[in-house]
């Protein structure tokens, strides 16, 4: 399992664009929003939590189709399916690699983008925490979508259509945590829901994704 993780991370570093591409996209988005909304602090601050979360979602979406597509093309997926490691484990590891290359940089860079969008400093820790809890679910659900569409030629657009509705609960609770953090309101309820969704997704989705992969391999 560790071998698969290190290989995927190494490939992300060497192939270029694995790390950082999502963050760069996030940066562009954060820079564009004020052009659309206006530079006014009073206008930006209220929408900042939502924009940041939607931005994280889209940045995560960008690299989803790479989770399985390359391994499918070069036959690695066939070989992984015959390996002693269960396919569910391979799915989980590949989702983890996606999170480390896409989700984690977003979590770390998020305060910077929060500053750009005039997010009140008091909300920063909550933004980071909500992203830290929520983005693993985004990667895992993305792996499920990627597993469904791995054999398709024009899977990218379809992948977005399939995955984005699955992101809605995570988005709602994630933005809510940040918003409440900015207002100084009680955080616990959305935080518990957010964590619950992520845990359930991490526990159950690997089975659905592996089932979809097996169908696509035969």
């Amino acid at each position: 399992m560790l071998a698969l993780l290190t290989r995927d991370l190494r490939l992300a570093v060497r192939a270029g664009g694995g790390f950082g591409l999502g963050v760069a996209f996030f940066l562009i988005l954060s820079a564009l929003v004020p052009f659309g909304v206006g530079p006014d602090r009073a206008a930006l601050a209220p929408v900042a939590p939502g924009i940041l979360w939607v931005g994280a979602l889209l940045a995560c979406l960008l690299s989803l189709d790479r989770i399985f597509a390359l391994d499918h093309e070069d036959g690695s997926l066939d070989l992984l399916a015959t390996a002693p490691m269960p396919l569910e484990g391979a799915v989980a590891v590949k989702a983890l690699a996606h999170w480390i290359t896409t989700g984690l940089p977003l979590v770390l860079a998020a305060p910077l983008f929060g500053v750009l969008l005039q997010l009140p400093p008091v909300a920063m820790p909550w933004l980071v925490l909500s992203l830290l809890i929520g983005t693993p679910a985004l990667s895992m659900l993305g792996a499920f979508g990627a597993a469904l569409t791995v054999g398709l030629r024009r899977g990218g657009l379809l992948l977005s259509l399939l995955v984005l509705p699955l992101y809605i609960p995570t988005l709602i609770f994630g933005a809510e945590i940040t918003r409440r953090g900015a207002e100084g309101a009680a955080i616990v309820t959305p935080l518990v829901f957010q964590a619950g969704i992520t845990l359930a997704v991490l526990a159950l989705i690997p089975f659905a994704a592996a089932a979809a992969l097996r169908v696509n391999l035969r």
Partner: protein, 209 residues
């Protein structure tokens, strides 16, 4: 020791039965070559035995995790070096050393090259070297000699013979003579599936025809 026993196997491709009623066994030290015209279902049969696809009917008896499968695609990452590619598969399959495999496929001198820089034949040899690091007794090979030159084919024949001598077995679909005079040959042509009604439809194309 028996590595593989196939009883009355039927496999389907594109939702239609391709070959049916195939039975054979493969003991330690044996090699079996599948023959038959293009499109008869050799690849599908091999994928079934590798466990990537479920057979339509019949039984496949093989020990768990005993099959090493190699097909047209070698599963190589162009950005990784030859040694890194092989090390990865070695760790996935249980950690056999890569040096003997590199030496056997004459890749030692290339071990630090990125796999993307290899020629087609060299890539193929690296893909076959992966078989050696898996440590699995039953090799299931789909056209293993594609894009190999005559010298490499001979070298590969030697590798297979060594594998058989160590108690392994090999099941291959190939058109080329590997110089394995001891290998048995199974022609699939008589097993081509006859269209007709089936009791339990295995696919949409069978259920609605």
């Amino acid at each position: 020791m028996r590595h593989l026993a196939v009883h009355d196997l039927s496999v389907s491709r594109g939702g239609l039965r391709a070959v049916e009623g195939v039975s054979f066994t493969l003991d330690a030290g044996e090699a079996l070559i599948l023959r038959g015209p293009n499109g008869i279902g050799k690849t599908t049969l091999l994928r079934c035995i590798a466990g990537l696809q479920a057979p339509v009917a019949g039984r496949i008896d093989a020990a768990e995790d005993s099959v090493a499968y190699a097909a047209h695609a070698d599963g190589l990452k162009p950005a990784l070096s030859v040694a890194e590619n092989l090390t990865f598969w070695s760790r996935i399959f249980g950690g056999k050393p890569i040096e003997p495999a590199l030496a056997a496929m004459d890749l030692t001198a290339l071990s630090d090259r990125p796999a993307g820089a290899l020629s087609a034949g060299q890539k193929r040899r690296l893909g076959l070297a992966r078989l050696l690091v898996t440590g699995r007794p039953l090799w299931v090979l789909d056209e293993p000699t594609v894009s190999l030159d005559a010298a490499s084919v001979t070298a590969f024949g030697v590798v297979i013979r060594a594998h058989l001598a160590l108690g392994g077995a090999a099941l291959m679909a190939t058109h080329i003579d590997l110089g394995l005079s001891e290998a048995r040959v199974l022609d699939l042509t008589p097993h081509r599936a006859q269209p007709g009604a089936v009791a339990r439809p295995a696919s949409f194309n069978e259920a609605f025809a």
